[in-house]
């Protein structure tokens, strides 16, 4: 259980590091991941080891989704910026 819990925390930290808290959709999944991790801990404490493990897998899936969403959002922003720069360059040369 400790191992799964650590894995879940690791992905949650990764999501925070890539800026998931700043992007609404990613922040939502990050929050879900945290809540499910907490619920898993309680379940484990209640003796439901299997249920706790599945909750940790859900939490990890949400955290991974938060990472992907945060990264994608940043890449899309960068792409828009790059295209804006091209358009600006082209229009300045007209």
């Amino acid at each position: 259980m400790t191992k799964e819990l650590e894995a879940s925390f690791a992905v949650i930290r990764a999501a925070e590091e890539v800026g998931a808290t700043k992007e609404p959709n990613a922040a939502l999944h990050l929050q879900l991941a945290k809540e499910q991790t907490e619920r898993a801990r309680k379940r484990f404490a209640d003796g439901d080891k299997e249920g706790a493990q599945r909750l940790l897998l859900r939490a990890e899936a949400d955290a991974n989704l938060a990472v992907a969403l945060a990264r994608t959002e940043q890449e899309q922003k960068d792409a828009r910026g790059a295209m804006d720069r091209v358009n600006e360059l082209k229009s300045s040369n007209k």
């Binding site: 859900r58 899936a61 992907a68 899309q76 792409a79 790059a82 720069r85 091209v86």
Partner: protein, 299 residues
Amino acid sequence: MNRGILYVVCMVSGTLVACTPYVPQELADARRVYSDAAHGPAMANAPAELHKAEVALAEAEKAWDQDPRGERTRDLAYIADRKARAADAIARGAVAQRNIENAQQDFNRTQSQIIGQQQRVIGQQEQAITQEGAAVNEATRNAAAAESARAEAEQRAQNADERAKEAEVKLSKLAMVSEEPRGMVITLSGSVLFASNQAVLLPDAERRLDEVAKALLATKERKIVVEGYSDARGSDTYNLDLSRRRAEAVRAYLVSRGYDPDLISAEGMGKARPVSNNTTAEGRANNRRVEIVVKNKGD
């Protein structure tokens, strides 16, 4: 209950709608999200992530098959849903990444084109400056050449004037020279040039005319009129003819010494314009003469 058995039971009872198996919301969502991802950019841009979602969904389906209402089924469907969403997000990220690369290439290409255009414009401007400089140099050279030509012409004119003055000085030693409105007039005595009633130059006259010719050749660009004059004795016809022939003889001699025949003409004037009284022998001798008129410059 196994889904196959469920279908058989429903078919026998004839209530297919009522027997439609229960599908948890999580599984319904997972199926839809996976289907969307599989038909979206994930197939091409995140195939590995999509495959993980597919495996996760298959596991959820298997769980549903065994226990449609079970918590495990819902959890596995939930996980499949998240994996499908992640696959879609990763694919969109890959597309965005490619757009960044394309935009960067487009930026570099456009920048190169702009630099190229600017270099061409600069090149054209430099060429124009070079051409302008060449034109200025040429104009300067032309101006210098024109100035040189003008100075040369001025020098030539000055030289010609000097030669003319020198000629005039020389001629003044050989004959009587006077400046008149019609030009410089060199008067040679008829008795020095010709025997009486003859129009053939005497040997001594030729020597004297040689000197005159040398002096005149210094001003050979001027027009010359050789005028023959007689005294008043004899008929006008005879005097005109004799004076004309004498003028012709002098002209021919000057031409033979190099004077341009187009610039020199001869006229017989007869007894016209006497310079002395025809009643005395001395006066008549003075009237028998040849005048070489060197026309003024430009006449």
